[in-house]
Subunit: 341 residues, 2 copies
């Protein structure tokens, strides 16, 4: 089909969340019954009691896909976001931060969310000394994202629509997810998905596989998510199977870097060195920002991967899941191009 | 007079504020008409328009004296705080963070503050690449702190009551300030004050000098505040004059460290090295935390100063004005004692 040039490099659909981040001891996770490195959904009461027991920390706009488009914006890319906040203080913070990152964000906030017990979603993130983050999410208003919030014109105007696997948890969001993929393909665009979390993969394994087979062009995952998806401990076999199902599969391996597969091509991308890993929250999200921008712009897999590694290295060196330094400037300083030569 | 042992090392009285911190270019400060490194008060409308134009960033509990007692708490010291938030989301964040730092905080929040246009105070902090911060404060509910909020028993139970010069701006807070000093001296305790900001000193020079002469035992200031107080560019002369008026004067000189004077004693304290200065917000506040805890515990001037330098080095290496690492642990690692041998 004939393609009009895309208005956006990436449009993301995700859970709109504000993060509360604080340092913790491993003993705290144990006492709270939390599995280190996991994300779990909590209700309002548990959210409040957990917050009460957390150390002092900082707040920052979050949400996996929101972090990714904020990263795309920081690279100077054109990005849009679809997600649901409430009409409250934290909703205002989320809206400010994503727009200030240069991202188009026009999903109407949930009116009277607080009255319905649906304030803007929050994620309580406890970070141990090694930078590992353990997350408890109260979805709140984010849970109310539904198919009506999907603007087919916006999706169709975006080179890549990026969906977060976390949306498989709330049913109306999953419907929005399917709708987004359909709108993207109807306009001849690409559909990317992140598996988000190995526990999400365990909960929705069959549904995720079916969705990837039917609708995904690009998949982002980490090692644990990938192996959970295929219920195997053989990384190479799992990567090959995923690659056979989609155009591009990008798999992160923490400090070991990442692997990107496409057809017969397989490139290994090294991680950028970091003096001290402070907080790994957002590492995968920022990696996705670089990779998706690179793919949307037609860079090679290696060059797209390098942008991902660069963005991840920026975010793990400080508290919070979004860049605090211009990724566009960092790319320039590192001699990485944002467009094909 | 006979002294009962103090329940608290430090009780602080200050403007209860939540910070919004974001990176900026020097050109942004210029376009906004902001003097680099300054603090200015803004009204709700200016606060909203400035926020609108700021880069994405992070939120963190702040307020100069609040930061200081959070630092005292992080050292494992016993601290209390008096300040006014509204009964809203950011007031909840402020309350959580200061209590989670181990600080007693029981000032009743302003009821229906939002209805009166008096939400919890916020400080918009724009930080340039060199770490310098420029602050615009909307006091909101903080402005409603008054003499009725001062609990003479709490003040009397604290080794040192610590007052921030910023409280000279709102008239009812200034009255609370005077009341606190009177309660401390009635109980035979020490009164400490920080000059806060050179612009505050210019606005209230005569009043500050009168207060110091009449009521202060300990004064904290930076070089600009000190020289503004005595309207001289001669640092040594100004330091000597201040030292002649109080028991202890502690003057910070940025990367050059600090000088502490008491009677005929004058000690120079070096700054702790930092790999990269990210955000200097809270540097003076954390220096004050170490110095005040040291003085409350009866450490030497040099040892109290070292605790101050250590705390300042922690906070300038990350975004936000309060410690994100246990200062007690850092002191232990650095071989600094928190109590006299």
């Amino acid at each position: 089909m004939t393609q009009t040039p895309a208005l956006y490099d990436v449009c993301a659909v995700g859970n709109a969340i504000v993060d509360v981040l604080a340092p913790c001891d491993p003993a705290f996770l144990d006492a709270q019954g939390l599995t280190p490195g996991s994300m779990q959904l909590v209700d309002a009461a548990r959210s409040a009691s957990l917050y009460e027991s957390m150390n002092p920390g900082v707040e920052a706009s979050g949400g996996s896909a929101g972090n990714t488009v904020a990263g795309v914006g920081s690279f100077g890319g054109r990005a849009a976001y679809v997600g649901k906040v409430a009409d409250d203080t934290l909703g205002g913070v989320f809206t400010h931060d994503i727009r200030a990152a240069g991202v188009t964000f026009d999903t109407p906030p949930l009116a009277d969310g607080a009255a319905a017990g649906l304030a803007t979603g929050v994620c309580m993130i406890n970070v141990t000394d090694d930078g590992q983050r353990t997350m408890c999410t109260f979805l709140g208003a984010a849970n109310q994202l539904g198919p009506d919030d999907i603007d087919a014109d916006l999706i169709g105007a975006s080179q890549i629509v990026y969906l977060e696997g976390y949306l498989f948890d709330p049913a109306p969001a999953r419907a929005a997810f399917e709708e987004s993929a359909a709108a993207a393909h109807a306009a001849g665009r690409k559909v990317a998905i992140t598996l988000s979390d190995s526990f999400v993969v365990h909960r929705w394994r069959a549904e995720l596989l079916a969705f990837i087979e039917a609708s995904a062009d690009i998949v982002l995952a980490n090692e644990a998510e990938l192996t959970a998806l295929f219920e195997t401990e053989d990384f190479d076999a799992a990567a090959a199977r995923l690659a056979s199902m989609v155009e591009v599969a990008a798999i992160t391996r923490g400090a070991a870097g990442s692997v990107i597969l496409s057809g017969d091509e397989r490139v290994a991308v090294t991680a950028f060195p970091v003096d001290k890993v402070v907080d790994t929250t957002g590492a995968g999200d920022q990696y996705a920002a670089g990779v998706l921008l690179g793919l949307a712009r037609g860079l090679s897999l290696q060059d797209a991967g390098k942008l991902g590694s660069l963005a991840a290295s920026e975010v793990i060196a400080h508290w919070g899941p979004r860049p605090m330094t211009s990724l566009e400037q960092l790319a320039k300083d590192a001699g990485l191009a944002l467009n094909p030569a």
